[in-house]
């Protein structure tokens, strides 16, 4: 441990920074996409139309019972095939980043839909009824009355899930992307100093995620205080 070489980290900082940016980009896209499609899945799940509700439940339960890495592999192979089918061009070049984005949006929408479903169910039934009584249609009642209250209730859980999602971005390592961990791994192989680089990666994740989880706790305490 005495020969911990700080210089190797400093020398590789620009490279690692690019990796961290890629992780953050993936995180943001997956978060927005996951919450958007997760909301749709949750609404479908709660729909009175059986076909819709069973399809949504089936998809969510299927995704939730396989490993994240297996889902990444699935979409790594499926995305280029599907894109080729849609554009009509075989062998269309779809990079691993695009496949990873598709995989992350799919998996996260399944996880978020469960959170959002619970959030919607936490809103008293009288709220949508009152909205309908006022002449609102389904989308108006959901968009203006139910979802705003639901999102407020589930904000802490959604943020906690976001922290987990940020940690999960490191899994794209398995398809060879140079995210933060992938970049560190590459730099470690070139310089032969994996010890320093992996410890650095662990510390950066620890600081970001610990800080974020403190923030969530603070937010939750404030929200609880506001609820009398």
């Amino acid at each position: 441990m005495g020969d911990f070489d700080y210089k190797i980290i400093i020398n590789n900082l620009p490279f690692l920074w690019d990796g961290l940016l890629l992780s953050l980009k993936l995180f943001c896209i997956a978060l927005v996409g996951g919450i958007f499609f997760g909301t749709l899945l949750a609404l479908a799940r709660l729909s009175s139309w059986r076909v819709l509700s069973y399809t949504s439940a089936g998809f969510v339960n299927l995704i939730r019972s396989i490993p994240f890495i297996l889902a990444i592999f699935w979409f790594y192979f499926l995305t280029p095939m599907l894109v080729g089918k849609i554009t009509g061009q075989q062998g269309e070049a779809v990079g691993p980043f695009t496949s990873a984005i598709v995989a992350f949006i799919m998996v996260e929408s399944a996880y978020y839909s469960e959170i959002i479903r619970a959030g919607i169910q936490s809103v008293p039934r009288g709220q949508p009824w009152a909205a309908y009584a006022l002449g609102m249609n389904y989308w108006q009642a959901m968009g203006h009355i139910v979802l705003p209250q639901a999102f407020r209730n589930m904000l802490p859980i959604m943020l906690t899930q976001a922290i987990i999602l940020f940690q999960d971005t490191s899994l794209v390592y398995v398809v060879g992307l140079k995210d933060f961990l992938g970049a560190a791994s590459k730099a470690g192989q070139i310089s032969g100093r994996i010890v320093e680089l992996y410890i650095f990666v662990a510390l950066v994740f620890l600081i970001i995620c610990f800080g974020a989880s403190r923030l969530v706790k603070y937010l939750q305490a404030r929200m609880d205080a506001g609820r009398v």
Binding site: P67, L70, F73, W74, F77, I163, Q167, L171, I194, Y198
Partner: protein
């Protein structure tokens, strides 16, 4: 869809591709179960400590949970596998890298005891932090009156935990514990990054050799789903069997 290729001879291990899948299932289960033993026992101790008035132990358990929760599992996997042998004293590191892997030859495996051990330790210690949170919240969800009543009856604090709190708390946390076990079961696929040929790794390997992407991944997905369903149903049965009459747990799961 063509499924017959599963019965063809695979390039190594003297097995068919179906045999590869089988050994993948075996290693996934072995890694998960061994890691679960660590996660459950250590997680229970940490979770209980976090509810006790023992200030320093309580704080230590909190630090453990925060550290292991806030570093991605894959990074932890690399820390155990690549970094640990390097930062140990040289003689111990060398022993880990050279002697230890050859202590036992693992059956149906193209990896050594060291990969297996690193994966089990990593998954076990990581999940312990999550189990600890479940145990803590299970204990804290019990009415305070139970502890007070126990103490008023003349029980010591350890006795209150042993005879009053824990029997109730562990019944309450069967559903979240089931999902923690399923998490460890799914997370065991991260062991493929350090060379453990568990189920997902076998899927990737079979796909590389046969290019039968769809049937291979479909088969593996079905296996994961079937094992998940089996565990869920077994735990529901267990929950029913151990339920205390009259004590309704919050919300039907």
């Amino acid at each position: 869809m063509e499924w017959k290729f599963f019965l063809e001879q695979a390039p190594s291990g003297g097995m068919t591709y179906l045999g590869w899948l089988g050994s993948g299932v075996m290693w996934t289960l072995l890694v998960s179960i061994c890691a679960w033993v660590i996660a459950f026992s250590l997680g229970s101790i940490l979770g209980i400590l976090r509810t006790t008035p023992l200030k320093w132990l309580n704080r230590g358990a909190t630090v453990y949970v925060e550290i292991f929760r806030n570093i991605p599992l894959l990074v932890q996997m690399f820390l155990w596998y690549f970094v640990m042998p390097e930062i140990l004293p040289t003689s111990m590191g060398d022993w880990l890298k050279q002697t230890y892997p050859n202590l036992i030859t693992l059956p149906f495996a193209q990896f050594s005891l060291w990969e297996f051990t690193a994966a089990v330790m990593c998954l076990g210690l990581y999940t312990a932090s999550r189990v600890a949170e479940q145990v803590r919240s299970g204990i804290q969800s019990l009415p305070k009156g139970q502890t007070n009543a126990g103490l008023a009856m003349g029980f010591t604090l350890p006795q209150v935990y042993r005879y009053v709190i824990l029997p109730m708390a562990y019944r309450l946390i069967i559903p979240p514990m089931t999902s923690e076990f399923l998490t460890i079961f799914k997370n065991s696929s991260t062991a493929l990054t350090i060379g453990v040929l568990e189920l997902t790794a076998q899927a990737r390997q079979i796909n590389e050799y046969t290019f039968q992407t769809f049937p291979t991944f479909a088969a593996v997905t079905i296996i994961y789903v079937v094992i998940t369903l089996t565990v869920v149903m077994a735990m529901r049965l267990l929950e029913k069997r151990v339920a205390v009459p009259g004590f309704v747990s919050q919300g039907g799961h």
